[in-house]
Subunit: 359 residues, 2 copies
């Protein structure tokens, strides 16, 4: 089978394997040389074949954000850290049941009631769960504030017979997305310092705080220089997107694109492609970036349409032409597809399933 | 089985059946009383059980925007109008093959080359295809401009041995989304008038233009009053969303919500729910609207998180509480889920599969 790009129905999600493999090598080498472990965030791809390649390169497991991601990864024998606090006994029961069946699972809590739910679920399942404290290091999104409440929560977990405290999680969305290398470095170091101080206090109290997990693609060259950080959670680096390119520049190559087709050419000043809100996540204030094509301006054209304004385009655009675009934001864009075409040049080398289920 | 809302893992997509059924009745009655046919757009739900209910109420078939939607609907025996021009011989081959196998399919073209592709595909498949001309009535997104080019295209289709010209399609995104009832009415009437003039010219030339299909939920009370319009394509009315509520008011009830759970409560001024960019489409400039809860302000919190700022909330929000939200935009939100929970009150009456595949 020699399926080529030109045989694909559009819109289609492509990954350029040369770039993808290079990105995976680069991150793993950087993290390993810093003496840390890489636990890539699988919410960025929801794709077991990608997780396997990250593990083959040296990752110790993956992070997941949802129960369904946990299920797919553990079913493939991959160890997971569920980075999102849950507040549903049904979910803690599922997590405990998975752990009981042998899955390698770590979970986080940011509230005493969550620790109680996990304790109850683990006890009822007859298992024990590895728990980290999710710390709020500035985003005020999830996480226990870095003060005496975090220490009290640590003591509660340590005293829970079916829970095993193993450390803290500290992730800063705002740090990862601060523009300007110096500003990002100082923001990120300041944020992580709060977690380091909790970790030190826990250790002084005789609590287990061996793990400090956090970091992201946006701070890959910052978190790896902080001695206390033990584990890096970066997720976007294998695929990359226009958002992180704007923040971190060319450190990682844009490996993921959406392949589209020009479907309407009735006007001299524009063409329409078959990709809109359902082909690209729209959570960034900018649109997709055309690949190998200058002099066009993107305009959202609806659920299934994108309009390209022609401002002296670098090549003529005809009905039926294919155009690739780098998505604004990779995670929620992958989430729109059920498969990724893994491309070696213009040839389809593999097709990877994506499990794009919420919950 | 008496599964209740409180047994569902979140985020989950719910449809309130009482509101949904009332919306379907109201639209069908309005369209039927106007002497027109209703062909609801299935891109809004991608869900065969919803399409079946629309047909049971009196719809003559559905509209679809993609090949995969066409496949699901025709596999269920439902006739379709593919409202999007395609410019790929692979796609016209698939459409012709489906027609050959007995599916009731109508397609649109907005370029002479598309008519040639359909003619070639239909001839090779040994079938004939019903074709409408997609007209550009002001959006400049797809559609042939309403001038002599449209008439020339009509003649080309009429002269194509395997194509059967049956009319024109005229949809105005800008008309559907114009705020203010009077402004929307005048915008929409002006837009449709261009299509009526093409239709008249086609009829005068002895061409078949029996169908003028178009319209939307935003213009449901306008298009139904235009004598020449024969078929209404509204899509959002069974589910509704915050965007159309802002435009058309209370004509149709918001029947679709996303059920979420409060997962973090570390701060007095906010709580975090387990729904973000992957639970709601983000293409509108406003966020989801909480149901039965005043005094909160939505802030996007990332892929899996939404932050609710508490500004004197009308009820206390505790860890583990469920909150429902009306999505900003229904079509691309449904597209994020693989199932819809059809609710009678707080009880799950049915579970409907959604086929959320692009292409």
């Amino acid at each position: 089978m020699q399926t080529s790009k030109f045989d694909l129905l559009t819109p289609a999600l492509l990954v350029d394997l040369d770039r993808f493999e290079s990105n995976i090598r680069k991150m793993q080498t950087t993290v390993s040389l810093a003496g840390k472990q890489l636990r890539p965030h699988a919410k960025a791809h929801k794709c077991v074949p990608i997780a396997r390649r990250q593990l083959q390169a040296g990752a110790v497991g993956v992070c997941v954000a949802t129960i369904s991601e946990m299920d797919w990864m553990t079913a493939a024998g991959i160890g997971v850290l569920l980075t999102t606090p849950v507040a549903s006994r049904m979910k803690t029961d599922q997590i405990a049941a998975a752990a009981k069946s042998g899955a390698d699972i770590r979970a986080v809590v940011d509230h005493p009631d969550q620790a109680m739910m996990y304790q109850d679920s683990a006890a009822r399942a007859g298992t024990s769960l590895q728990i980290l404290i999710d710390l709020d290091i500035g985003d005020h999104r999830t996480g226990m504030p870095c003060d005496e409440r975090a220490i009290a929560l640590a003591h509660q977990i340590a005293a829970s017979p079916n829970l095993k405290l193993i450390g803290v999680q500290a992730y800063s969305v705002s740090g990862s997305h601060t523009e300007g290398a110096d500003e990002r470095r100082s923001h990120s170091k300041r944020a992580i310092a709060q977690a380091v101080s909790v970790q030190k206090e826990m250790l002084a109290a005789g609590l287990d705080a061996r793990i400090l997990t956090g970091g992201s693609t946006g701070t890959w060259d910052i978190d790896t220089t902080i001695p206390e950080v033990t584990e890096i959670q970066a997720g976007s680096y294998p695929l990359m997107d226009a958002a992180y390119r704007r923040i971190i520049g060319s450190g990682f190559a844009p490996a993921m694109t959406v392949l589209t087709t020009v479907i309407s050419t009735s006007h001299l000043d524009r063409v329409t492609v078959d990709a809109g809100y359902k082909a690209f996540a729209t959570d960034r204030p900018f649109g997709p970036e055309a690949v190998g094509l200058e002099g066009v301006r993107w305009q959202w054209g609806g659920d299934e349409h994108g309009i390209l304004h022609l401002e002296n385009p670098s090549r003529p655009l005809r009905l039926g032409d294919q155009i690739e675009f780098i998505p604004p934001h990779c995670d929620p864009t992958v989430n729109l597809y059920e498969r990724i075409y893994a491309m070696r040049g213009d040839r389809v080398e593999d097709i990877w399933p994506v499990k794009n289920i919420q919950r």
